[in-house]
Amino acid sequence: MSAYARPVEVLIDELGRLPGIGPKSAQRIAFHLLKVDTVDARRLADAIVAMKENVTFCERCYNVAEGANCAICTDPARDQSILCVVEEPKDIAALEKTGVFKGVYHVLLGVMNPLEGIGPENLKIRELALRVAAEDITEVILCTNPNLEGEMTAAFIASKVLAPFEVKVSRLASGLPVGGDLEYADELTLGRALEGRHGFS
């Protein structure tokens, strides 16, 4: 089907590959961009390229970072002995909004999901074990999403990865909507879940 000029189709294809953007949305965005000023279009293109060139993953915690380490890892005010394990950098944003957590993070960059071919070896789990072995960490809070895959990843880390270490392992308190994502929980609920965390059973 080649209803549009070739460059428009290429853009629709590219946009359609982005998460959460279906063919209809891709089409709408492409035609919107067709109408905007060249200056505005270039600003968007430049922002994407600049992000790719200047932002990487933190070498320590795999949060997004400008440079080798992220803003949280390099902040001297953060408590380096408490580690919060999350699935994605966007979860850090959600937890930071609660203002409750003063420690540091470790991002797994995903979650165990055999149907998608993702096992522990595809996540930053080995790196987590190395950190717990090397750093002075007293508590690890498992903040994966309260859905099946998040729970299983937390269970794997607690029972298979952290068990040999002298470290307290805890999980967010219940009260979060089961099956949901951290990013959709409101700050108050998430803050309470963090404060009410309990030992992992």
């Binding site: 055999p114 149907l115 269970a155 909507p177």
Partner: protein, 361 residues
């Protein structure tokens, strides 16, 4: 919930439809192909979030439309209530009293239905998956929280089977550690679902016998036994013992997904030994017993949806079914019309006659 009014927009063949429903028996009449079943399907969808015909939700959106809307107005606990589902391709959104619910599944429990469909015969005649689904549907009607367990078991099994298949008959140490975690989840959720089903069967058995007697007009010995697919004490033990074999075959062989509800009539396996008429009556008796149990336990009868069941029954059994309909709201579709009421007069409190697709007389 008593449904007083139904709206459809871009649902199946209906572009727009709006109708009032009686609190008793409503008959939806009209020739085949006018979309009578679609109406029942829409109401069923509000109750269970799935099509009782097994159609994928995306396929319910009218061709060419972006979204379908099914909305019912009614009364529950003396209060007006409005429930609504919006179906788009890939997503279902639910509202109660115009408030969006966080998840569509939170709508479960707002409306309950019992469905009698022409292919209910399969409930007795076909493989065990239909009977397991029947049990799970009744569990969810009794307690919407059961939906979480059913969903967890299903999803855990899919993940576990994917993991088993990745090994191509083998399992390394890292794979075994991952499997441990999925196994502990399956053991917990699967055990819970099995025990819930077993308890349910215990409550259903006497009701199935009574219902069969009413419909068949004679006493018969109806037995229903829940058979686990494993013999060990716990599912955890069964998974541990069966692991090697599961890995080799790439499938999960023990768990609620392999269990059976064995139904027998006068000592003979109904699936293979009963006549088609007996099987049909038995299927109706199973549905009716689930309906009566939910009514007894919750103090409110589910809305009965009877899809073209009369055409499949002999006149005596059809009359017995209609004469013994439990009290409450019922909707029945029929191409041939209803028999007269036992004392004469109209059986239905309201007749909605379709003359053409979407066109009411």
């Amino acid at each position: 919930m008593l449904v007083t009014r139904l709206w459809l927009a871009d649902f199946r063949s209906y572009e727009r439809l709006e109708l009032d429903l009686s609190s008793g028996l409503t008959a939806i009449a009209g020739p085949n192909g006018v979309g009578k079943t679609n109406l029942l399907e829409a109401i069923g969808l509000l109750a269970t979030l799935k099509s009782f015909r097994g159609a994928p939700v995306e396929s319910l959106v009218r061709r060419g439309a972006a979204a379908a809307v099914v909305r019912a107005e009614g009364i529950r606990d003396d209060r007006d209530v409005l429930i609504e589902l919006e179906l788009t391709r890939g997503r279902t959104r639910a509202q109660v009293n115009r408030q969006r619910l966080r998840r569509a599944r939170d709508l479960l429990g707002a409306l309950r239905v019992t469905v009698f469909a022409p292919d209910d015969l399969a409930l007795v005649k076909e493989g065990p998956s239909r009977r397991r689904e029947f049990l799970d549907d009744v569990l969810v009607a009794l307690d919407p929280g059961a939906d979480r367990v059913v969903g967890e078991v299903e999803r855990t099994l899919r993940q576990r089977n994917a993991l088993l298949r990745q090994g191509h008959g083998r399992l390394d140490a890292a794979g075994a550690m991952t499997l441990d975690v999925w196994d502990s989840k399956l053991a917990q959720a699967g055990q819970e679902l099995t025990e819930r089903r077993e308890a349910l069967v215990g409550e259903l058995v006497p009701l199935v016998g009574e219902s069969y007697e009413i419909l068949a007009g004679r006493r018969s010995d109806v037995a229903a036994v829940y058979q686990r697919s494993w013999s060990q004490v716990t599912l955890a033990d069964a998974l541990a013992e069966g692991r090697r074999d599961d890995v080799r075959r790439g499938v999960s062989q023990a768990g609620p997904h392999r269990d059976e509800l064995a139904v027998s009539l006068d000592g003979l396996a109904s699936r293979t030994e009963a006549s088609q008429g007996e099987q049909r009556t038995l299927a109706l008796a199973l549905r009716l017993s689930g309906h009566r149990l939910v009514t007894d336990r919750l103090g409110e009868a589910p809305l009965l949806l009877l899809d073209d069941v009369l055409s499949e029954l002999d006149p005596n059994r059809a009359a017995a079914l209609l004469a013994n309909l439990p009290p409450g709201q019922s909707i029945i579709t029929t191409a041939s019309g209803l028999p007269p009421a036992p004392g004469g007069g109209e059986l239905a409190d309201q007749v909605l006659a379709f003359t053409a697709p979407g066109v009411l007389a």
